[in-house]
């Protein structure tokens, strides 16, 4: 009997092999070959990766990492207190607050990013307000500042939601017990709350860092045409210069870099045995 129903999965297995597995293999394959001549001849090469070792491109990778890391850190610093405050609200208030965090995510990301141009540009709203206060005008658009701001704005909810969930799971009695035993506020935070909410922090950091590292929309709109992050580099190879092989090699480097960062973070957490359970459902690593 079960055999009959099991068969419904076979077409899907074929489908995911074609549209999920093969594309990943193709990216790998493309990164190791170059096509030359007419008719096209493919040959194996490491040249695509060697090209990437150019200081210009390594700089782009490093800069992307720094910007993504700073944005993630800001999200964490802003988001943790938010999650904490929300978790202390009355239950019905909590669900409305969460709804208000999720609602903007339903609005197209391009539009939410675009909105900042009106605010940050030289003649923009923020400079107008600052001028009234006798400051500025500041040059904010097309800088690291505007790009990081765009990332924090777009990804902050990804940080708040998992941390909020992990705070809810913490047994309130543990905090009371620590207090009764004489721990100060900062002590309770460092020794009790922080370790117990670490799984939420790890999930949040991953969910912010991953899109921040690979986005090309935010740097394009808020950083301008000259502002290149690794996502823009890949986009250009595929949509502008047409060097798909080099583009694939950069993608492989990007994926390796992301996996390495996530792995390093888990090590930093020390074993990460808890992170595994909290990440489940959201991110399988």
């Amino acid at each position: 009997m079960n055999e009959n129903i099991k068969r419904f999965s076979y077409p899907y297995i074929v489908w995911i092999s074609i549209v999920i597995v093969i594309p990943v293999l193709l990216i790998f394959l493309y990164s190791f070959i170059q096509s030359t001549g007419e008719p096209v001849v493919f040959r194996f090469t490491l040249q695509n990766y060697r090209d990437f070792l150019d200081p210009i491109f390594l700089n782009v990778l490093w800069h992307s990492f720094i910007i993504a890391a700073i944005s993630t850190a800001i999200c964490l610093l802003l988001g943790y207190p938010v999650a904490w405050v929300v978790s202390r609200l009355k239950p019905h208030r909590q669900s409305s607050a969460l709804m208000l965090f999720i609602l903007p995510m339903w609005i197209n990301m391009l539009l939410r990013t675009y909105a900042w141009i009106t605010i940050l540009s030289r003649q923009g709203i923020l400079n107008k307000i600052l001028a009234r206060l006798g400051m500025g005008p500041f040059h904010m658009m097309y800088t690291d500042f505007s790009v990081s701001l765009g990332m924090v704005y777009n990804f902050l909810p990804f940080m708040i939601l998992p941390i909020y969930t992990s705070i809810l799971k913490v047994d309130g009695h543990l905090i009371d017990a620590a207090r009764d035993l004489g721990a100060s506020g900062s002590h309770v935070f460092r020794k009790v709350m922080l370790p117990l909410t670490m799984p939420g922090i790890i999930t949040g950091v991953t969910m912010v860092f991953l899109p921040a590292m690979s986005t090309f929309v935010i740097p394009q709109l808020l950083g301008g045409g000259q502002y290149i992050m690794i996502g823009n580099l890949i986009e250009r190879q595929f949509l502008l210069t047409g060097d798909w092989h080099f583009g694939s090699a950069i993608s492989v480097v990007l994926m390796a870099f992301i996996l390495l960062s996530v792995w390093a973070m888990k090590r930093f957490d020390g074993g990460g045995s808890q992170a595994g359970t909290a990440g489940k459902g959201a991110l399988p690593w």
Binding site: F8, P11, L26, P81, N108, K128, V217, L221
Partner: protein, 260 residues
């Protein structure tokens, strides 16, 4: 005293940060001037008129809706049947399939996008409507499966067997016994697929061609040239649709709660 107002003030500040740009976006769609970026020069509906007269945008709206409807319908049916099949697989096989199923959800969008682009190029598909539709189906099905599977686990495994023992074919068992049980999962999966398809930008951008675009691609190509009030007008309409949808969904939920 401090303890009481400080957290609430902080929360309000964060909400201000999240919503101020959206308010600005909407407000400036009614601004008369096209050049001045941060100056209010009077109320106007000019940009809405321009938006409705823009053939390119109307075309993009059409493609966005058709692709969202088709990809949702297809991934809803295929995803549900596949989830039922996957559910019956042996544990190890199921683990493999689900891991692969996760890949597009966790990998960077741009990597998924170029992977498909290379695939379509390799099999000599012409970039355009078909490739964009296939791409949307590709990223939608995993979400449907992930929404349907928990419902299957929650269901009594003997029900389908009982139906078949009583003479139902597997098709009948699925249609008349299993599907009614997992309907909420199918609908939430379809809703996710629909909204993701409406919103998709990165994967669409790489897997389209021949003048086929969607709203996100249009917004991108207009916005990268700087401020355009028509983008604000379009944004306002999209924001309005989202808010109305959420409101209606909330009302339905509330009514259900009252009745239950």
């Amino acid at each position: 005293m401090v303890k009481k107002w400080l957290p609430n003030a902080y929360l309000c500040l964060i909400f201000f940060f999240l919503y101020a740009p959206i308010v600005v976006l909407v407000l400036f769609s009614f601004n008369a001037s096209s050049r001045a970026t941060g100056t209010w020069t009077g109320f106007s509906l000019e940009w809405y008129v321009e938006l409705f007269e823009d053939r390119q945008i109307r075309g993009a709206l059409g493609y966005t809706l058709i692709i969202a409807i088709l990809s949702t319908a297809i991934s809803m049916v295929v995803g549900t049947l596949s989830a039922i099949g996957v559910y019956k697989l042996r544990k190890k096989a199921r683990g493999y399939v689900l891991n692969v199923n996760y890949l597009p959800i966790i990998s960077p969008e741009i990597v998924t996008a170029i992977g498909l682009m290379i695939l379509f190029q390799s099999i000599r598909l012409n970039f355009g409507f078909t490739t964009m539709l296939l791409a949307h189906i590709m990223f939608s099905i995993p979400y449907v499966i992930l929404q349907v599977l928990p419902r299957l686990y929650a269901m009594d495994p003997n029900m389908a067997e009982a139906a078949m023992d009583l003479g139902a074919t597997p098709w009948q068992a699925i249609r008349m016994v299993v599907v009614p049980e997992i309907r909420p999962g199918i609908f939430s999966g379809a809703l996710m697929a629909f909204t993701m398809s409406l919103d998709d930008f990165v994967i669409s951008l790489f897997n389209t061609g021949n003048g086929v675009t969607n709203l996100s691609i249009e917004v991108y190509s207009m916005a990268r040239r700087g401020i355009r009030p028509t983008v604000n007008a379009l944004a306002t309409l999209m924001v309005a649709i989202v808010f109305i949808t959420v409101l209606i969904a909330n009302q339905i939920q509330l009514r259900k709660k009252v009745r239950g």
